[in-house]
Subunit: 231 residues, 2 copies
Amino acid sequence: MTKRPERIADKIAEKLRSAIVGGRLRPGDALPSERELAEQYDVNRSSIREAMGRLETWGLVKIRHGGATRVSDFLMGAGLELLPHLVELGGKVDPAILEDLHSLRGMLLGWCAEMAARKADAGDVEKLEGLVRQLSDPKAKSSALQVLDYDFYQELVRISGNRVLGLFTNVVREVYLKGPDGFASLYGRDVFDPSHHRVAVAAIRARDGAKAGAAMRAHAATALRTREETT
Amino acid sequence: MTKRPERIADKIAEKLRSAIVGGRLRPGDALPSERELAEQYDVNRSSIREAMGRLETWGLVKIRHGGATRVSDFLMGAGLELLPHLVELGGKVDPAILEDLHSLRGMLLGWCAEMAARKADAGDVEKLEGLVRQLSDPKAKSSALQVLDYDFYQELVRISGNRVLGLFTNVVREVYLKGPDGFASLYGRDVFDPSHHRVAVAAIRARDGAKAGAAMRAHAATALRTREETT
DNA sequence: CCGTGCTAACTGGTCGGACCAGTCATGACC
DNA sequence: GGTCATGACTGGTCCGACCAGTTAGCACGG
């Protein structure tokens, strides 16, 4: 948990990022000039420039030679790589974003289970069954269960063969498993009840896409419901 | 079509990016030192540093103070922000990735149409109707229709209120509208037949989520089918 | 009075050269 | 053979200068 010695540009980019996604800097606002920022933070202009470069590649600001650097409407222009930053706004998890993420993931979960049912071979099914077995271990910790649950998801994505969904999954994993226990503390242990997974795997083995999708959607819905109850 | 005068850091980052995703630089390989690169490209080291910063935020390289900068295994851990770079591998569009992208987008299209039906207010519906009107213009160019079609999608996402889906959409837009005509040349004009959009808007106005979702899914399926026919 | 166009004071972009701060291979020493 | 100092790398930060676009304001001609 100790902070690694961070580059100046990263620290400043981080400050500004948080100011932007936190709403203290609104889309359209002009940032102070690089020279001003350099003086303000008491660092060299080069460091400010590198920080600005990061903000720009994150889609948070628009730099124009000769004109002021302005905050862009990042919800309009930023990519998914911003997600990890949005989630831990000021160190606290933003529940609304998390809600969005989970509902989206739930739907994708169902969808790729359907595709997996059409494409899985014997080896794939075996892998999934292995994961279900581990998920059923009564001695497993909640954090471990969360990882397994995600591994199951990622395996479904792999079997579905959709590489774009694979990239998406990589980003979400970073968010989902953040921190020492991921979000395990946010959810009860029952969230990882493997019964839905078991049903899904059986359906995939039987090439029943609809049933597999329904099972995984039910699993995701359970997670959401459990979360609402604890709110 | 004329190239805007590009920053040299961007040009160099672009060169290296293409070398990495093109496989000329493999994961684990060490890049030349910043001083070497500066001499090699005959630019200042600052420009090289800014280029490296971009590569790092793209997840393509790992920079370590004191050690060499190495290409990271982006295929394993990279996020969706890499999609635009992957698609134009070597200047050519990879049809398989595009296929994955379209099927995923189609499903999301249906899903957020359902959510939009639950959340849209009068102003939202009006906006959608305006877009449908423009889509119905018989004089519109194919490229313009593609932009409108995407605007319609993006508007649905906005109405759905799912911010994570919004971020995803931003990335996809970059890919989808790449090049002078986007992918308009890949699809026939009939792909942008607005009849499905019309049905969807009517359903959203009537709060009929299922119908709206079905209409947009049908639209996406048409696009895919049309593409397969022309293959 | 309005518009036009020049100019000056901004903005970001590039330069080079100095020095600080980690890493790592090498080789003397135990 | 192991270990640890050391120097030659690597990237990180700083400075100060100048180039190159943008913009706002002012003087000028209509």
